[in-house]
């Protein structure tokens, strides 16, 4: 069965992304926000650009909107398929904590909202170095909040993983980490990313942690994947899926590179003195 986004997510996309692009006074025929597709693609650098700078006639906000218009839907579909397989019918017994690394405009949060059952609450920590991305993410999230019958997210947005605030003591809550189309970023250092993640996880939980990795099937964007995988294996994660394969959507088939890592709850208490 092809994955189908829930109607409320489609509505959000229609009004907040497609509608906004179409209604923009610069939009005319194939020229969205006044630029052709090739220019748009260059401006969003296939998603790996420095989004906070203007490019030509496009402001940072324009570029983020174009990213959402051209690129986000596919990622949303892939992540929806992943969460459907993971949680379909059976959500974890405690509220999730979601850490979305290189979150973009709330893509992982939206996908999860579409697959959890109504009324569920989760914490969401969106990490993205681009202010414009974070702001548009919050804008989409607020739009979802205003719809009745959707799972609720308690959000924070930070530029750097080290900036996340968490005042509660660590609990046993399950954490889901999303790493969707981040690893191609030239500004990313895998060792630093993993160290920051481990540091944050130790503040959040002693419970189970699941890491979902998705990316383009092309080789280049995955070039740092081996380091990422090995780092996680060293940190006690096990690899439970690692493949390239199709996601069936209503628009056709998309091939995605994906992996799933999992680490159980802490099972022994390491006491001092030994």
């Amino acid at each position: 069965m092809p994955i189908r986004l829930p109607q409320r997510l489609r509505d959000i996309r229609t009004t907040e992304i497609v509608g906004r692009v179409r209604k923009d006074p610069r939009t005319c025929g194939d020229l969205l926000l006044g630029v052709d597709r090739q220019t748009a693609m260059n401006a969003i650098g296939w998603g790996q650009a420095e989004f906070d700078e203007p490019v030509g006639s496009l402001s940072a906000e324009d570029r983020v909107l174009l990213y959402a218009y051209w690129n986000q839907l596919g990622h949303l579909e892939e992540l929806s398929e992943a969460f459907n397989q993971l949680f379909g019918g059976n959500s974890p017994s405690q509220p999730l904590i979601v850490v979305d690394l290189g979150c973009g405009p709330f893509t992982g949060g939206l996908a999860l909202i579409g697959q959890l059952s109504t009324g569920e609450l989760f914490d969401y920590i969106g990490v993205d170095r681009s202010r414009a991305m974070r702001e548009f993410g919050e804008h989409l999230a607020t739009a979802v909040d205003s719809m009745a019958g959707t799972p609720r997210s308690k959000r924070q947005w930070v530029a750097d993983i080290a900036d996340a605030t968490w005042h509660a003591p660590p609990s046993w809550r399950p954490v889901v980490v999303i790493v969707s189309f981040l690893l191609a970023s030239p500004s990313l250092h895998v060792g630093t990313l993993l160290a920051g993640l481990e540091q944050l996880l130790s503040r959040l939980t002693r419970g189970p942690t699941t890491i979902l990795y998705t990316n383009s099937p092309r080789v280049a964007p995955n070039r740092t994947y081996p380091a990422f995988r090995d780092g996680l294996l060293d940190a006690g994660f096990r690899l439970t899926a690692d493949d390239t394969g199709p996601v069936h959507t209503e628009r056709g088939e998309r091939v995605v590179r994906y992996a799933l890592f999992h680490r159980d709850s802490q099972r022994t208490l390491q006491l001092g003195g030994d």
């Binding site: 992943a82 993971l86 493949d243 099972r267 006491l271 030994d274």
Partner: protein, 366 residues
């Protein structure tokens, strides 16, 4: 794309991990109230008994706990030998040396572990296995004695947070004294409603996160109640019992308060079970706390017990907590309640400090 389901990923069968731990090795388990420690102690005792063909000694801190162990075992038709530490070691030392346990003067009860261990220096453990429940309340000397001179493999269940006795051991001390591995963790609370657990968490301290509450919400928020006299307290308890039946535990600080409440209850509930336990009366064997009725205990003897409803009386004597031991005592008392919890203060109003210090109104109904 093909991913496992979340259920397939998470192997969260923590009790099973403990039941499957090797029987001929020492085992150390830490777990919060309601995580099933006592049942697991009994089941492990059972498995060991089967392996070695002799009833496993299971040691605990006080007589009410010994009684609960016995009742759990009896319910499942399991053959364990439940004893308090004091009595088990007294007999064990006698068998090994034909002398009485040396005491640390001027105490009548405090064993002189150093002297005992020196005396038995050349003796090897005589039993294969020993199981200890509520290990945090036993002194480090006991663990040294037990591992050197009682059993080859010790199983110790502990909750550092619930320790109430002055001679408690930290988890580190237990581990070092008994030569145990790092403790396995139980993280789920199967006993309390989420509402009760939230009040208890107010008093939570310790190295591990508060337990995950497995039960679903009941809609019954624990209540802070003022009761100006023993009669009105008795009236409330009787009301609760008439409306709900079930087992009710009354926790007091002073035995004199316990006795006056007990008298009132006996007079007004002649046709029902009403018990008071004190260590001086040593009447635990005549009490079955599981039978519907009311049991009055003090904070030492309520340890390890559980009731459908708990009234903690004399709250003004327990809060505000000013040291670790007082926090642990409040935590332990609140977690005795399965479904309903009342914190009752008496004659004097609670001080503004105590009032502000308790959980807020959305957690503890005023």
């Amino acid at each position: 794309m093909r991913l496992p389901t979340y259920d397939e990923l998470s192997s969260d069968e923590e009790q099973l991990d403990i039941l499957e731990a090797p029987l001929d090795e020492s085992l150390f388990v830490v777990g919060p109230p309601g995580s099933g420690k006592t049942s697991l102690a009994v089941w492990r005792g059972d498995a060991l008994a089967e392996l070695y063909g002799t009833a496993t000694p299971v040691i605990t801190y006080n007589r009410m706990l010994r009684r609960s162990l016995y009742l759990v075992a009896d319910e499942h038709d399991i053959d364990i030998r439940a004893s308090t530490m004091q009595s088990y070691v007294g007999k064990d030392y006698w068998h090994q040396t034909r002398t009485m346990v040396p005491k640390v003067p001027p105490h009548r009860y405090e064993y002189d572990w150093n002297q005992m261990v020196v005396r038995l220096a050349k003796k090897e453990p005589h039993a294969e296995a020993l199981v200890v429940d509520e290990g945090q309340d036993l002194p480090p000397g006991f663990f040294i004695y037990a591992s050197r001179h009682i059993a080859k493999a010790l199983t110790v269940f502990a909750d550092e947070e619930q320790a109430i006795s002055g001679k408690r051991s930290t988890l580190e001390q237990i581990k070092a004294s008994a030569g145990l591995p790092h403790p396995m963790i139980l993280s789920e609370n199967h006993r309390n409603t989420p509402e009760i657990a939230r009040v208890a968490e107010h008093f939570h301290q310790g190295q591990l996160p508060a337990a995950t509450v497995v039960r679903s919400r009941s809609g019954d928020r624990p209540k802070l109640v003022r009761s100006g006299s023993a009669e009105s307290t008795v009236g409330r308890i009787i009301n609760e019992f008439r409306n709900r039946s079930g087992s009710i535990g009354i926790v007091v600080d002073q035995n004199s308060t316990g006795r006056s409440v007990y008298k009132g209850l006996v007079d007004q509930l002649p046709e029902h079970r009403v018990d008071i336990y004190t260590s001086d009366d040593a009447n635990e064997d005549s009490i079955d706390v599981r039978v519907p009725g009311v049991t009055v205990l003090n904070k030492d003897s309520v340890k390890g017990q559980e009731f459908d409803t708990v009234f903690v009386l004399e709250l003004e004597r327990f809060v505000p907590c000013t040291n670790d031991a007082e926090f642990r005592a409040m935590y332990m008392m609140c977690t005795r309640a399965r479904d309903r919890l009342f914190l009752v203060y008496g004659r004097e109003r609670l001080s503004a400090v105590a009032e502000a210090w308790l959980p807020s109104g959305d957690v503890l109904e005023r």
